[in-house]
Subunit: 393 residues, 2 copies
Amino acid sequence: MGPGPVNADPRVLRALSTPLVGQYDPVMTGYMAQTQALYREVFATRNDATLLVDGTSRAGIEAALVSLVRPGQRVLVPVFGRFGHLLAEIAQRAGAEVHTIGTTWGQVFPTSVVEEAVRRVRPHLLAVVQGDTSTTMNQPLDELGDVCARHGALFYTDATASLGGNPFEADAWGLDAATAGLQKCLSGPPGSAPLTLSDRAVEVVRGRRRVEAGIREDDDEDVGEPIGSNYFDLGMVLDYWGPRRLNHHTEATSMLYAAHECARVLLDEGRQKVVDRHARAGRAMLAGVRGLGLGVFGDLGHRMHNVVAPVIPDGVDGEGVRGALLHDFGIEIGTSFGPLRGRVWRIGTMGVNARLDTVLTTLAALEHVLRRAGVPVPPSGGVDAAADAWAEG
Amino acid sequence: MGPGPVNADPRVLRALSTPLVGQYDPVMTGYMAQTQALYREVFATRNDATLLVDGTSRAGIEAALVSLVRPGQRVLVPVFGRFGHLLAEIAQRAGAEVHTIGTTWGQVFPTSVVEEAVRRVRPHLLAVVQGDTSTTMNQPLDELGDVCARHGALFYTDATASLGGNPFEADAWGLDAATAGLQKCLSGPPGSAPLTLSDRAVEVVRGRRRVEAGIREDDDEDVGEPIGSNYFDLGMVLDYWGPRRLNHHTEATSMLYAAHECARVLLDEGRQKVVDRHARAGRAMLAGVRGLGLGVFGDLGHRMHNVVAPVIPDGVDGEGVRGALLHDFGIEIGTSFGPLRGRVWRIGTMGVNARLDTVLTTLAALEHVLRRAGVPVPPSGGVDAAADAWAEG
């Protein structure tokens, strides 16, 4: 019940143990094509260039940034938590001229503030985290595509922590690139990064085309300056996933099976129903921690559905409470980073864990641990409030 | 029975479906520490800095090269197949001044030729593939560590295709860095890259230290110019695997389970016994394809134990034979790249597939497919020769 990775869906665990097939076996290339189609639905996009990057979520982020941004180009990152800092750092290492705007942790950016910065910086790319688990905030993205279109910027978001559990509309929001991971609301293991690129983004990537020596044909011409990474060269990755099936990496078979099944689990339940279930579980957990008398961090009008940050009461050893929950009750909740370190816990309700029983069990255990830590908590205050909130639907 | 990925060991498939735990759960950090200890044995090293890079084999290569080489430093790559070209390309993208030496495909380099080039180029790093599946050749590495020591170069090898099935001695051979994958002789899925760094290599990596904004403490100072990648910054990866457990990526839990079990499977059988089994299966397959009257590509005095390249007979449609083997017999063998495209097949005997029954079944099927393709093949010529070679031990 932490901010992720969380428990995987049993169907995904079973998919992981599927026997391997060769990378060019028609069964494998068929699974790859199916996986692309499934993630088009998950991202709500018609982008042909929808695929997996073989690595954890930040591998997806780095692939997007290093492939879309040339050294010296301007990137604007609105930073509202730890993962905004990460986007800025990855863009800096890719040689970009990075500009950031900041806000107090626990807040998101109004569209007008982002637009003002876009007007001032004139970035090649706007890079924004959607849900930043470090603060539990969910940045509204629905108006930022228009902002980018008005100012000629590419629009990229990292939706690792939010995708599946919160509304997400790649095409309707005008996104040029989005990346994610499996280990949050998609109920899968970390280690595979779904990614989608608009046609405009593909055009940018194709402006720096390479085919590796050793497999290139006579008519493969170099285009532009090479991308500063081979592994994250999305042009090469596209050539591998595309009809030419030009070998790049060897697709991570078992993680592909997992990603494939994560999407099927989500789409079998239904995209909107999964978001609704996360919203309901998130409301119940929020009501529950308040019912225990705890404060809650951040602007609750812009919180992620899938993680909440109860304030650690004065005088309570936050790590001691986490340890007791883990060792005595088998329930993991999260610590926090940077300015919030030691100030809040982070409790997740995501993926297969966004359920009534997990919410109530966590609150029941937390109640006992807090009482033993000397915090005056109302008997059943958390469980009752959460059950009531859940019952409201 | 291709050049990899091959079938995974059933124990590894089962490990993949183990339920997830949180990344800082003591169970998880315990598995991480065990995995490090296991791969020290697999690589035959005492290097503390032994861990997994979360990505396919080429992610491990890129992590090693981008972390060990600064822009402008010289890298020498002896190229004897496709994967030598890959090392050169990755080093180039990392900004290195790359020098290559070449040889005919199907040959390896004598030590004296490498030393002459090291003397001339004075590289910061010598980067050599051990087993290059594109040509089936296995470059001797045992004298190159001394060459590097004499000329002050770091010594790196990519052992993806060879590790486990061929002798490998990281410390005894004076290696500063080595990378691998699971999908060849280790009987696991692609998507995790074991890596080891000598203390000298760690010192080079630590010369460019960064801690991310968002998680850094007041006494975390920047050292040197940053490495040109966040994901592949081995200093950060070491801080995550090391005692400070500084968050970087989220370790790919299921792939860690797989890597852990791959090493246990190998070490349970015994390092030398696994090499011997690969040597025996390789000899049997070589005898078998010759027993069918096929030529074999390359310098057989320096072949990898785990892959052989039969020459496609004149007038035979190589892809047609591969298709018949796959669709009619359920056996995959490999095609080839670059100058060997259409000239040879590649047949693997590696990992759990390095067995008598897989060798004989493949040869029996190949005999029938070749005969139907009009090639005059001696009845049981392959099976008999392979069985005899296997019996010799």
